[in-house]
Amino acid sequence: MSVRDVLSPFAAWKHLFRDPVSIKDPFNREASERYRGFHQNDIEKCIGCGTCEAICQNGAIDMLPVSGVDGVQTRPGDSGLRPRIDYGRCCWCALCVDVCMTGSLSMSNAYKWVEADPDKFRYIPGVDKKHWDDYEHGYRRPEGHRLNAPERIEMPELEPGERIDSFAEIVGGYSVEQARLEADRCVTCGICVATCPTHMPIPEYISAVRDGDYEAGLKLLYDSNPFSQICGKICTRRCETTCAASHEGDPIAIRWLKRHITEQVPFERYRAIIGEPAAATGHSVAIVGAGPAGMTTAFDLARLGHKVHVYEAQSHAGGMTRYGIPEYRLPFDTIQREIDLIVSMGVEMHYNTRIGADISMAQLQQDHDAVVLSIGLWLGRSTRVPGSDHRNVYKAVDLLRRIRDGEQLQAPKSMVVIGGGNVAMDIARSMARLQQQQHGQIAITLTALEDKSHFLADPVEIKESIEEQVTILDSRGPQECMVDDQDNLLGLRTWRVHSIFDENGRFAPSYDDGDEMVHEGEWVVEAIGQMSDVAILGDELTEKLDWNRGRIQVDEDGRTSESWLWSAGDMVRGPDVVHAVADGHRTARSIHAHLSALDKQENA
């Protein structure tokens, strides 16, 4: 202790004339650029997946319907819900912003808000307008800061060089570890379920993969889709187009995870997991066509105890999955296992039985309590351009059927395919394999009316076709199949197409005859539209039935104007396996209700 200790504190007096250090206008101080203030939500970008709600450890977020506000509505890919935040609970941690699947949610740097009514502090950002909605600054998820893995686990596949000379299956399937990593990426929002035509419980079966509980997963699959093994390989996976993860990353490989479950459970266990059919009801149902729609109907009805007879013109069941999809995408044994499982429920199959020739519709009507028509789209359309009646102009569906029926086709040295859909890719790739096997080289040109961005085929199919040396020319309109004096097919002449899609997304191609090309080909294969062979119904039934723009008119349950006849699958819904499955379920429910009503009438 010294004199200095007494004098030194007087140093404080030096601040006597110092300017105040406090902020002059504390009421209008702007927070820092990345300040975490009140939320902003771009509600057009938001899909209402509720991942923000899921991660909020305070339970501050509720998902509320806001249909009608600023064009938000419940539709595939958008729940129509938007997050409401309770600022009595929010702790400003911004995990909701970090995890937001679309990047719609952010925080402004507004932090002052005075209100007498506490309930006001509970609002839906973007819907309940606030003055900070347009604030430029605030917390946005920084680049590279992700709380969920945005990239898909790559699927092991055969390389183009390994697969081009055989029909061996290309996709290898996930290992358990890969599948778990992929399943881990799913945020379990369930937005996809509405998009799946048959509404498979997608988040639940993905959770089963995550937990390694494959038997539970298989049960979930088969309760909603008896074509799960097949769909696990070739489903058009519309669900993945609405996957929340697709907005800022790759969608979850939902199809591959389904496939993974079916591969992890030994096939011998399937039957026990799916369970026994109910006791026989004494009712009998005839199904025409053993494709996905017909066989799904058969599966459902058989499980309910009804006697089901399936009439199939071909020697095998599976419909287009069996006769339309190449083996490298869908091996026979997968289809066979699926069919065996359905048949094991007590379904009786009548192969090589053609309606109209071997048995009539009238006969079916007489012998059964209900009849289902599910004959698919087996007739290929023709462009009918000049020369298209040449013997070497084929229809893709016919060729695919012949290949899958085991016929040894002699592949031409060169070939042109007309069409830009999956069938076009299927035939191009199948023929490429035959060319490689027989000639050691591939010469296939695929021409499509549409430009690349509007191709109807799955982008993966396009990519793999190119890998397999198929030359793809977009925006080409077929004009003529050129034939020389000796009646040999020379190839296809096309004009350039100016693709114009109108405001409704409808397409009216227009041609530019100044841009003409001739594509050399010993064969031309038309892979355009397909239609149903409804001629088998006969004139009388055709006249009786109501029709809707070329398709049999059915009510929402798939029932036609004839009370005993239902129709399902591609022929009423257009071509798609999983839609056909959904249709099969719907038809089976309707028939079951009808048969139950019959029982009640009898009892009464």
Partner: protein, 180 residues
């Protein structure tokens, strides 16, 4: 470093499972009889003079409490966690307040939060954090904080939420069917 320590002490104190975590951190399981001799040895002969913490883990599925005595040897920059497994139905343990006076505070908390008793520990029965608590010791796994909160505090009215998948089903395909 930790492995060699374990190898030296293993037989002498009849040590159980050894878990090397880092070069400077390991955990080892010890029996109740050997706990005090081991702690004394570690403190007085191995340099582990600092009791970092004493706490419990409830392995309710194994009917066991794990007591963790974490000791630090500053000179050699290393830590050892001594695990002691205590049956959940016999929750009495010997106090170590005479080895580290500060242990009394930890033991008092353990009695209150886990219901693990240390009979000789000073003031062990005095309330520590929870005055007037009548429920089961709250850090035991079977104490459900969410249920407690729901029963104790009223929910603020006006809350409702919707599961996206369920809501979409109601809106788009209420009968389980899609007509699109």
């Amino acid at each position: 470093m930790m492995q060699s320590l374990y190898d030296r002490l293993k037989d002498r104190f009849n040590l159980g499972e050894f878990t090397g975590r880092r070069a400077d951190l390991a955990f080892v399981t010890v029996s109740r009889e050997q706990l005090r001799p081991l702690l004394l040895h570690l403190r007085d002969l191995e340099g582990f003079t600092h009791l970092v913490l004493l706490t419990a883990v409830d392995w309710i599925e194994d009917d066991t409490f794990q007591l963790t005595y974490l000791l630090n040897d500053r000179a050699r920059a290393r830590d050892i966690g001594v695990r002691l497994m205590l049956p959940r139905d016999d929750t009495q343990m010997d106090s170590i307040h005479d080895l580290w006076p500060t242990a009394a505070t930890y033991q008092r908390e353990l009695r209150e939060m886990f219901g693990i008793d240390f009979p000789d520990s000073p003031r062990v029965n005095e309330d520590f954090i929870l005055e007037g608590w009548v429920d089961i010791p709250p850090y035991r796994r079977e104490f459900d904080t969410l249920r407690f909160a729901r029963e104790t505090y009223p929910e603020r009215p006006g809350r409702e939420t919707h599961d996206p998948a369920t809501y979409m089903k109601q809106q788009l395909y209420p009968d389980g069917e899609d007509n699109g």
